[in-house]
């Protein structure tokens, strides 16, 4: 049984809605979602374009607050935190991977990976050690002084994964991490994520359009029109 009981879930969304606009132009991007994810799970979210996947990720990642509903993160209500409190939560517990890599240009791979650690206030020497270790995990230790522009798409995305890992988060959130990559590169990225999940017990929530990529996860959540239509183990996990 892949579906969490919700009791000790790390992420626990209850009746979450996110509404954009008002009246005529109102869009219910999330329409009463219940979703519980345990520590150590690897969850893939799929669904048609506009079904609310990114909105869900933003809420889970505390980049956005839901319009209504309850969100317990590790048992603590976080739906109504202030902007700065959400920033602290992201800083200490969450890692992000984006479709467009979102590395800081003209800044070395190492510096990009160091960035979250700077905000954590980690001393420089320790920071470089941690960032180098994270780059090693994604197989890019030898590219630490390269700028993003000198790296291939796959390499850039691995730097982004290292950045998400560096702060030692409880959850990594990846919104279409392979959306810009060819199949071979995509599989490489998925293998990195799967290994992190298996070997280090890292909790991963990932949005994808490709069934092949979703199969790397244990559990597949299908969204349609802001609702969860199905939630089941992947073939691999089954």
């Amino acid at each position: 049984m892949a579906e969490s009981t919700g009791k000790n879930a790390l992420i626990d969304l209850r009746g979450i809605s996110r509404v954009y606009g008002e009246g005529e132009t109102e869009v219910r991007a999330l329409d009463g979602i219940d979703l519980a994810i345990d520590e150590g799970e690897f969850v893939a979210i799929m669904g048609p374009s506009g079904s609310g996947k990114s909105t869900a990720m933003n809420v889970i990642g505390c980049l956005d607050s839901p319009t209504s509903g309850t969100y317990l993160f590790d048992g603590v209500e976080v739906a109504n935190l202030t902007r700065d409190q959400r920033a602290l939560l992201r800083r200490h517990y969450l890692g992000f991977i984006f479709q467009g890599y979102n590395l800081i240009a003209r800044s070395s791979a190492l510096h990009n990976v160091e960035l979250p650690l700077i905000y954590k206030g980690m001393p420089r020497a320790e920071r470089i050690r941690a960032a180098t270790a994270a780059l090693e995990k994604v197989g890019l230790a030898h590219r630490d002084h390269h700028d993003p522009s000198e790296l291939s798409g796959g390499q850039q995305q691995r730097v982004a994964i290292a950045r998400a890992l560096a702060g030692n988060p409880r959850v990594v959130l990846a919104d279409e991490p392979t959306g810009n990559l060819d199949t071979t590169r995509s599989i490489e990225i998925m293998e990195v994520l799967r290994d992190l999940n298996r070997n280090e017990g890292l909790t991963i929530v990932m949005v994808t359009h490709e069934d092949d990529m979703a199969q790397f996860a244990d559990r597949l959540v299908w969204m349609v029109d802001g609702r969860i239509e199905s939630d089941s183990p992947t073939q691999r996990a089954a």
Partner: protein
């Protein structure tokens, strides 16, 4: 965290080195102009003070009216001095060593085909003594020439050069207005003073000749005094003021209608109306710092727009609004301080060159340099705040979506 922000700011600034330089140009110009002018001004003041001290510290000047310090022309309503005032000071006030009457006018001195507009001074031999003029060629006035107001004159070096070249002028006759005047002497040059004002540009004649033939009245415009050795400036001023009030019949509750200036005030006056200079400097500084500040605000707004995505990344990975604010504020401040630094260096170089050209001491003012940095800092804070606020208040989701 501040140190990180400074490093980041320096990186961001040098990434766009040319644009950054153009941005701070306003501040560079403002700061360098102020530093250069203050440096040269200070050097000039030192030079003038030194020049004036060579005259002796016991010299005072009495002028009619109360606005003499502002350098304004005495209005006709002001009661001028006359020769009896001078003689009264000379004979009745014990502290006075020498009192010389002076009257001035600007007029053209003509010799042959040459002519020069110059200061025409009417006085007597006491002025040469009090102001320590030495004769180079010829002689000063005979008592009889002073008595009768004979049309004879003594030239300053500049007038000699201009009318006679290096020839001996003694015995020649020059014309001033309708007066034909025989040259009897040439004074030793005192050279150019500070601010390039030429101290040798004058023709001196007996005061009676001046009053009769040049001014057409019996006024004396300045009393040039030297007091006995050992009399303090304060005491001298006090006694002279008391005495002048008496002979000019000023009532107990009336203000002075004359001004007594000591060396320090004279040097301030000679060094060129310091208040006006300061005011002008402040205006230049204020305008250019304002322009510089707007430049910085503008470029920081551009920078925030260009780096929206970067800001989104920083916010997403856990930067708080305050930290993004600090980052951009520090960048604006560093930018502004770099402008200030370039301005100070450039200003000192210009000040040095200016001091060389005017032949005055190079006198940089540490206070003004510090003030320049303080103002640059303030400009960075004030004009960087609004763009930094804009960056800090970005929504991370929106910012990440931006191209």
């Amino acid at each position: 965290m501040i140190w990180e922000a400074v490093k980041l700011a320096v990186q961001a600034i040098f990434r766009n080195a040319l644009r950054s330089f153009l941005t701070v140009l306003g501040i560079v110009i403002g700061v360098s102009a102020v530093i250069a002018m203050v440096t040269v001004g200070q050097g000039s003041t030192e030079q003038v003070t030194a020049d004036v001290e060579k005259l002796g510290t016991n010299v005072l000047m009495v002028m009619p009216g109360q606005d003499a310090m502002q350098g304004g022309p005495a209005t006709t309503a002001i009661q001028q001095f006359n020769i009896r005032d001078n003689e009264a000071l000379q004979e009745q006030l014990a502290i006075v060593d020498i009192s010389a009457p002076l009257s001035f006018s600007r007029a053209r001195a003509v010799f042959g085909n040459e002519n020069r507009r110059t200061d025409i001074i009417g006085t007597d031999n006491r002025y040469f003594e009090a102001a320590r003029w030495e004769v180079a060629i010829g002689r000063v006035f005979e008592p009889s020439e002073i008595q009768s107001g004979k049309p004879v004159c003594v030239l300053g070096e500049t007038v000699r050069k201009s009318l006679f070249g290096y020839a001996d002028p003694v015995g020649e006759t020059i014309r001033i207005k309708t007066l034909s005047c025989t040259v009897i002497g040439l004074l030793q040059s005192k050279g150019a003073s500070t601010f390039g004002s030429d101290q040798d540009d004058f023709v001196i004649m007996p005061i009676k000749a001046f009053q009769r033939r040049i001014a057409g009245n019996t006024d004396v415009s300045t009393l040039y005094l030297s007091v006995h050795e050992g009399v303090s400036t304060d005491r001298a001023k006090e006694e002279i003021e008391r005495f002048m009030r008496e002979i000019r019949h000023i009532g107990a509750n009336e203000d002075d209608d004359f001004t007594v200036m000591d060396m320090k005030q004279i040097s301030t006056m000679l060094s060129g109306i310091t208040d006006i200079l300061t005011g002008l400097l402040s205006a230049v500084a204020a305008v250019s710092l304002l322009v510089g500040g707007i430049g910085i605000m503008n470029i920081m707004l551009v920078s925030v727009t260009e780096r929206t995505r970067e800001i989104g990344i920083r916010l997403a990975i856990g930067a708080q609004a305050r930290q993004v604010l600090t980052q951009f504020l520090v960048e604006a401040i560093v930018l502004s301080l770099i402008g200030g630094l370039i301005g100070v260096v450039l200003g000192l170089v210009l000040g040095f060159v200016g001091a060389q050209m005017l032949a005055v001491p190079f006198a940089p003012e540490p206070g003004v340099v510090l003030l320049a940095f303080a103002f640059s800092f303030a400009v960075g804070v004030i004009f960087g705040y609004f763009p930094a606020r804009r960056a800090a208040n970005l929504d991370p989701i929106e910012a990440l979506r931006r191209e």
